[in-house]
Amino acid sequence: MVKRRRSKTKPSAPSRRPVLVARHRAAHRATEALDLNRCERFLQHEARLLDEGKFDDWLALFTPDGCYWVPSEPDQDNPHDTVSLIYDDRRLLETRVRRLASPRIYSQEPRSRTSRIVSNVSIEDGDNNACTVRSKLLMVEYRRGAQRLFAGTAFHRLVQADGLILIASKRVNLLNCDAPLDGIVVPF
């Protein structure tokens, strides 16, 4: 399932349906800038996909060389010289999302339910076709009688191609990234 979706979502080689969507959007948005309003709507769309457990669709938001990073230390410089709560290049991100769909993912039996609020969105730098967006994230996770609250700051590197917005990289700085933490399975 994930494999098929992967090929659909590659902007370079989209299959039929996404091509039509992309062309449609391209006709209207080819010159539309990546402004605050569009970025904010995109982040809310992403949060909704995650809350609804549509992880394949979430994966489709990333570029073919996109990455997803949750550092283990405040102000962590890079994901290569220090461990990370999560550091997924595109290949590992696909594996993570495929596992989330597995009926034998025991750490999601029962499934988590999440509720996210994305707020305080600002554009840090960029131009009409690529920008870094900073936002505040609150995520409540409920599973098996217990509720956890995560707070953090997200940095999305967004790029625009053929009128579609994609995530080139996503970094989530958790407020308690260096605390003892129970297992993290649902992406932020």
Binding site: P79, T82, S84, R99, S107, E109, D182
Partner: protein, 448 residues
């Protein structure tokens, strides 16, 4: 306590253990006193306190302690408690200090824990003496470093550290021997993963060769189905290769791995990785460079010997486990009978190629990461063990796999003829019973 004392040796029988030892708060309290308050407990590594004044605040069992290098360069472990009103003195995880000062009334301590200054020192009773060694940030009675790995014991006497570790010092040696320059250092941060369950179940999973194929099925499947054509910067590739290795068939886990146990509860599982990018192989350019560096400094014969040591988890009872081949070290911190936190560290091999440490980090993320696709299913198991054991189901739990086929081994050891033998659990429980009932871990052999 006396009631429990009478019952302790009835909690373990050949190949069986009562679930109560994992759930009874009174037994947990006794463990803190008789195991974590007596045995050699791993504290930290000397590379975390390189210079005089460097300190590292941690816990010994549940007790806050400070690992510190004093002005003379000696390694100390002192209780993190002010002698005045009892406040925690060192409140940051690590740093460098000329002295320790309590934030409450400003009592000040030398780095070895002796009192340096008492403000408003007047009107105390006659026997009040800041030079009294019992009034201090008290040192833990015995502190010993084995080649940089610092252990401490609250017992004034008992076996030396080397006697306690026995043959398992070879796993600590293996951590160091793999460094071309003969030196290692803690680097790359720390994971602190937590679960609602007893500390013993963590240790009892680390050499369990029977669980990966089942418990980790979701990540094995997902990794096996992953296309290698998709972009990776190298990090994901390491993780996916590791997950695929967990998918080895039962026949492999049973016959190809090996499980060894030694007196005092220690054990190691043979390594099961044969992937050329995970274990030093000439096919990989980074490892080619590494092997060449190893041969340059140690000679070909010694390099060959080092690379032929193949161990997965080495468990040094009761609180530290190493993956010497992969530069990982995990410290188990019991918090409560049903709550445990594990700190996982990575080591840098001095003289090895820089990329090798980056691969170590990628490996740490998948085997020890709080958000790992693998470890999260282990944490789920620990939670479920605690939930299941809270039921009124079977009083006796089964730890008998391999009981009839285990064989004796050198260095007082015992190994599984079949690698999925639970001999290492029985061996830990023998040590447990010895410490809990006799004050030492000499073989009681109730479980085995």
């Amino acid at each position: 306590m006396s009631n429990i004392d009478a019952e302790l040796d009835r909690l373990i029988a050949p190949g069986r253990v009562q679930r109560r030892i994992y759930t009874d708060p009174a037994i947990f309290e006794l463990e803190m006193e008789r195991i974590f308050g007596a045995a050699w407990i791993y504290i930290g590594h000397e590379s975390q306190i390189k210079r005089p004044g460097d300190y590292f605040a941690t816990r010994m069992g549940r007790k806050p302690v400070v690992l510190v290098r004093d002005q003379e360069g000696a390694v100390r472990v002192i209780h993190n408690q002010c002698a005045h009103r009892g406040a925690l003195v060192v409140a940051t995880d690590q740093g460098n200090a000329a002295e320790f000062t309590c934030c409450y009334h400003g009592w000040t301590y030398h780095l070895d824990g002796r009192i340096k200054a008492v403000p408003l020192n007047h009107g105390y009773p006659q026997d009040f003496d800041p030079k009294n060694p019992k009034m201090a940030m008290l040192p833990v009675p015995r502190v010993k470093s084995y080649r940089g790995f610092v252990f401490a014991s609250e017992a004034n006497d008992g076996p030396s550290l080397e006697e306690w570790l026995g043959h398992m010092t070879t796993s600590l040696d293996d951590m160091i021997d793999r460094a071309p320059d003969g030196e290692i250092e803690v680097a790359g941060g720390v994971f602190k993963h937590a679960y609602d369950g007893n500390w013993k179940v963590y240790f009892e999973n680390l050499c369990d060769a029977a669980h990966p194929l089942f418990t980790h099925r979701s990540s094995i499947d997902a990794a096996q189905q992953q296309s290698d054509e998709v972009h990776s910067d190298g990090a994901g590739e390491i993780a996916i290769r590791q997950m695929r290795q967990n998918g080895a068939p039962y026949s492999f886990w049973e016959s190809q791995v090996g499980i060894w146990t030694y007196p005092n509860g220690h054990s190691y599982l043979g390594d099961y990785h044969d992937d050329a990018k995970l274990v030093a192989a000439l096919k990989d350019p980074v490892f080619r460079e590494y092997i060449a560096a190893l041969e340059r400094t140690k000679g070909k014969a010694e390099a060959k010997r080092v690379l032929e040591v193949r161990r997965w988890n080495s468990n040094l009872y009761p609180n530290v486990s190493l993956m010497s081949q992969f530069q990982q070290l995990r410290v188990v911190h019991p918090i409560a009978v049903n709550r445990t936190v594990v700190h996982a560290y990575s080591f840098r091999l001095k003289g090895a190629p820089g990329q090798m440490f980056r691969n170590t980090i990628s490996f740490a993320n998948i085997v020890n990461g709080t958000g790992s696709l693998v470890l999260t299913d282990d944490l789920e198991i620990y939670n479920r063990l605690d939930m299941g054991m809270s039921s009124e189901g079977s009083e006796w739990l089964q730890i008998g796999r391999g009981y009839q086929s285990d064989v004796g081994d050198a260095h007082g050891g015992r190994r599984g003829k079949n690698s999925t033998s639970e001999v290492y659990i029985r061996n830990m429980l023998d040590a447990w019973l010895g410490l809990m009932t006799k004050g030492h871990a000499a073989p009681v052999r109730a479980a085995s």
